[in-house]
């Protein structure tokens, strides 16, 4: 009866006011669920249509067994970075990073370094021509577990019998001579890019590696380890972009460090630096500290934008498109932002032609063939231009994330664009290795965070540096067999392309590759290596 009383005391109006919120609640819930459901279905359909495999890279083998005995040749800026990737940081660096992390708790460089996997190596030998640097390495890395010895020349180091492998981070003109000698002595090599400094040594090095199949040879293009590039390979293999006729890529730097204006160490002089050995094949000149520390600014030791920086972009595209050496190269540019006595250009455009290239087509056979790769560089502006692969059906922006936009004029996506299921102005696919893999249509907010780099590449929950992964891959091949992702063929293609760029810049003419005879075509009476190595900005032809 009590219940009756309870119900009786409410009028219909009371009931209405008591429960009217519930239909609104149900309506809002239904609207949210159905909106999310539709969005999910559309995404799923698009992802199934695209069928891109957002793959994790294959895990390199274990680092167990006896430690690999590694020697470092060249301990400048890059040499130090490579040693850190191998697990050896200088005392100075550790102190600086400790201070940096105390000042800014978000600075995780030190914790990231400490969290890095132990590669089980002994860094037991160093060859650097500057006493200060060699001593710094020995003071920092020599301890009870790791005895490090200095060698005056790379030959002494290679002949010592104390190393199984060497990391070469010298100026460019020493890359090949040391690598060739090491390979011929059965010592594994990791050499920085560009693989070589002139054309003839490129062939000699290739022969050396081919003749010594047991030695593991890797070129330092660590970009190959970037997770998004592996997914990009699948995008190209599945012909999602259609025929790619143009690829644009760029270097944009606007600071002293980026323009190779490195610090000149006050302790450097003729007594503390083995200047003659530094010069090697370069023209003999008296001690010039600027040349020793800022060697990238001269053709005699460095390779300019074409060898130093274009090679990175060329190699990462070559790893995705596998387009090989261009048939023609036309380069131009000048010294427009750093007129400081350097003779390599600081603004440069390199147009690479691949007339036989095809990445697949969605149109009638035979209509599309050929591709141009445009590398555009300046050391006087840092506006980020990115890398874009432009196909008939879609464009792919390539970086740590991948973003694909369908093309308005696409054949493959025409129907879906017409039905309004694809908006050519919104990405149809975005891949972010650290978020939940892949997304078909990304919200503005997610893009905002992705662009800020907050959701970044981690492996097994740890942020890792691609140089570490690249060295790890090389060490794994030494221990467990296999071939590094950037080995002699990739290095050969990279080096020849860089040299064609340098020759074209210096001569001002279009340079042609003969793929049958594997030669850069020289004009009558022309010595291409002499042109490349002449320590002047341009040569008269």
């Amino acid at each position: 009866m009590a219940d009756d009383n309870l119900f009786n005391k409410f009028t219909r109006r009371d009931w209405l006011k008591g429960l009217a919120g519930l239909p609104i609640l149900g309506g809002v819930w239904y609207a949210g669920a159905s909106f999310s459901g539709n969005l999910k279905r559309e995404r799923k359909m698009l992802l199934e249509t695209l069928n891109i495999k957002a793959s994790s890279p294959p895990a390199a083998g274990p680092m167990s067994g006896d430690p690999v005995r590694v020697g470092i040749i060249g301990f400048g800026i890059r040499g130090e970075q490579l040693c850190r990737a191998l697990g050896f940081a200088t005392t100075d660096w550790l102190r600086q990073m400790k201070e940096a992390s105390e000042k800014n708790p978000n600075d995780s460089r030190l914790t990231d370094f400490k969290a890095q996997e132990n590669l089980n190596i002994k860094l037991c030998a160093i060859c650097d021509l500057f006493d200060y640097r060699a001593n710094k390495a020995i003071e920092s890395f020599s301890n009870e577990n790791n005895k490090m010895k200095r060698f005056a020349t790379h030959t002494e180091l290679l002949d010592s019998g104390e190393v199984d492998a060497v990391v070469i981070a010298t100026p460019d003109h020493w890359h090949a001579p040391i690598a060739i000698e090491a390979i011929n002595k059965g010592i594994h090599v990791y050499v920085e890019k560009p693989m070589t400094h002139n054309i003839s040594e490129t062939y000699v090095l290739r022969d050396a590696v081919r003749n010594n199949p047991k030695t593991v040879f890797a070129v330092g293009h660590q970009h190959r380890q970037t997770q998004s590039f592996l997914t990009a390979q699948d995008v190209v293999a599945k012909n999602i972009l259609g025929h790619v006729s143009l690829v644009v890529t760029a270097t944009n730097r606007n600071d002293d460090n980026g323009a190779w204006q490195y610090e000149i160490h006050p302790d450097a002089n003729e007594k503390t630096v083995d200047w003659n050995q530094f010069l090697g094949s370069a023209p003999k000149i008296p001690w010039t500290p600027e040349h020793f520390f800022r060697w990238r600014k001269w053709w005699a030791y460095g390779s300019g934008l074409s060898g130093d920086l274009m090679t990175h972009d060329y190699d990462r595209l070559n790893c995705i498109l596998k387009m090989g050496i261009p048939k023609y190269i036309t380069a131009s540019g000048g010294i427009y932002t750093h007129r400081d006595g350097r003779n390599v250009p600081d603004v440069m455009q390199i147009n690479m032609e691949f007339p036989d290239f095809t990445s697949g087509t969605s149109q009638e056979p035979g209509k599309e063939k050929g591709m141009q790769l445009v590398y555009s560089a300046t050391l006087g502006n840092s506006f980020e231009r990115g890398t874009v692969l432009m196909g008939h059906d879609a464009s792919m922006e390539l970086g740590n994330t991948l973003t694909i936009h369908a093309d308005l004029g696409s054949t493959k996506f025409a129907k879906m664009i017409e039905e309004g299921r694809i908006d050519p102005f919104e990405p149809i696919y975005q891949y972010n290795p650290a978020a939940n893999g892949a997304d078909a249509v990304t919200s503005a907010t997610a893009r905002y965070f992705a662009n800020k780099g907050l959701l970044w590449t981690y492996r097994d929950g740890k942020r890792v540096d691609s140089t570490f992964l690249h060295l790890r891959e090389w060490l794994s091949c030494i221990r467990n067999g296999g071939k590094p992702s950037c080995s002699i063929q990739e290095g050969f293609e990279e080096a020849i392309t860089a040299h064609m760029g340098g020759i074209s810049y210096k001569t001002g003419r279009r340079v042609e590759w003969d793929p049958v005879n594997e030669k850069i075509i020289a004009l009558p009476g022309e010595n291409l290596d002499a042109i490349l190595l002449t320590n002047e900005e341009k040569v008269k032809v």
Partner: protein, 159 residues
């Protein structure tokens, strides 16, 4: 003060405010519940204020529980305000949530605005919504409109 002293137009306006805010909370919660890829990680890691605290909330060890709590709280606040049940508690939870959102990306001069449309100086929509919830906390309307009306032992004096 309670809503019994208000005119019915005043009470109705508070009910409308409650339903609008409840609607907003519930929809935000439901959308997140059904979007498997949604995460507060980006919002927390990009915090421009009290970074240490918000980055901890966004860390790998915390983010799953933070996401679950956030979605649950959003939906409970929405349900409470729409259905008219325990709206004072709902309003308080809502205020706490909104203050978290506000403090992670406050509209302080000199700080980046973060991911939101519009232009703000000190006051932004999160703060306004929190203030509106405070009004609803002080002036509950569930006995005039909501399930609570049917749970009272005696009929209210005024409607």
């Amino acid at each position: 003060m309670n809503t019994n002293q208000l005119t019915s137009a005043q009470t109705n306006s508070l009910v409308v405010l409650r339903l609008l805010i409840g609607w907003h909370f519930l929809y935000e919660g439901v959308i997140k519940l059904y979007s498997s890829s949604w995460s507060a990680k980006g919002y927390l890691l990009s915090a421009s204020f009290l970074q240490g605290f918000f980055r901890w909330l966004g860390s790998d060890s915390m983010i799953t529980i933070v996401n679950t709590l956030n979605v649950t709280a959003l939906m409970l606040v929405g349900i409470s305000l729409l259905a008219g049940f325990k709206t004072r508690a709902g309003a308080l939870v809502g205020i706490v949530l909104l203050l978290f959102y506000y403090l992670a990306h406050p509209a302080f001069p000199g700080l980046p605005q973060g991911p939101s449309e519009g232009s703000y100086w000190l006051v932004n929509k999160n703060l306004i919504e929190a203030a509106a919830l405070y009004v609803l906390f002080l002036l509950p309307t569930e006995s005039a409109f909501g399930i609570a009306k049917l749970m009272q032992r005696s009929r209210p004096q005024t409607a």
